[in-house]
């Protein structure tokens, strides 16, 4: 049984999905690490967690490309809200997924950045469950120190439902 599970994990990216949805909605939580600093010094610390809701719409059939957009709440030792948009590509409509886009917290402060992500989705049991590793480079915003830079590496867990 363990060998079967291991084989599924290893071959997962190459197994085609049964049917990709045209429109999907998903709930997403993220947590990770943020790094920043400047002038030869860097600092790592736990990033604020986010909880969000997103919609994903298929835009290109081959390679399977979707546009996603949604909003999120940023919590932990703060309370803020933001939004994210981007594109995702699933080569061969498989489990493997890559994405790139923009994300930004806008209330009560602002910090905007570019994202790149890669992950796996499993939807054999109904709702799609995805795990994703996402990197964020913050480019500007009132929350970004003038004398430093900031980036974030986070793990995202998603549960998606087909809408169409």
């Amino acid at each position: 049984m363990a060998k079967i599970l291991l084989a599924i994990l290893l071959l997962g990216p190459t197994l085609a999905r049964a049917e990709a949805p045209l429109v999907a909605v998903e709930a997403r939580v993220t947590e990770g690490l943020t790094v920043g600093g400047g002038q030869g010094r860097s600092v790592w610390r736990l990033a604020p967690y986010t909880v969000g809701a997103f919609a994903e719409v298929a835009t290109v059939e081959e390679p399977w490309t979707t546009f996603y957009a949604g909003g999120y709440f940023e919590g932990g030792d703060r309370a803020a809200a933001g939004a994210a948009v981007g594109l995702r590509v699933r080569p061969g409509r498989g489990r493997l997924r890559f994405g790139a886009g923009a994300t930004g917290t806008v209330v009560p402060y602002s910090i905007l950045g570019a994202t790149a992500a890669g992950g796996l989705c499993f939807d054999d049991l109904g709702p799609a469950a995805c795990v994703e590793l996402e990197g964020v480079v913050y480019l500007f915003g009132s929350d970004l120190p003038d004398d430093g830079t900031a980036a974030q590496l986070q793990v995202g867990l998603e549960v998606g439902f087909d809408a169409l």
């Binding site: 994990l9 990770g32 690490l33 610390r45 913050y138 900031a150 590496l153 793990v155």
Partner: protein
């Protein structure tokens, strides 16, 4: 192999998170700091313009010239025509 890589990544994340928790008041973003402080040089500190404000607006007083200075400006203005007259005499 991929499972090992995932476990290694998870261990790195957890370890780094632990290190970050020990980072004290180090910050990356302004919102990492308590209210009223900003993130500067990876540490939470008073905003740069907070100190002058605590001086009771000293900068503002300096910006407006004191009465004595204004009085000094009048003779300077009177000096200008004198200089102009001198220039005409010279020609």
């Amino acid at each position: 192999m991929r499972s090992r890589a995932a476990l290694l990544l998870l261990a790195l994340l957890v370890g780094a998170a632990g290190a970050g928790a020990c980072a004290g008041d180090h910050c990356v973003r302004h919102s990492d700091c308590p209210e009223g402080l900003v993130c500067s040089m990876s540490s939470c500190a008073e905003p740069p313009d907070a100190a002058p404000a605590d001086d009771g607006g000293a900068v503002g007083r300096d910006a407006a010239p004191p009465p004595d200075t204004a009085a000094d400006a009048v003779p300077t203005a009177e000096d200008a025509p004198t200089t102009a007259t001198d220039a005409e005499d010279a020609s």
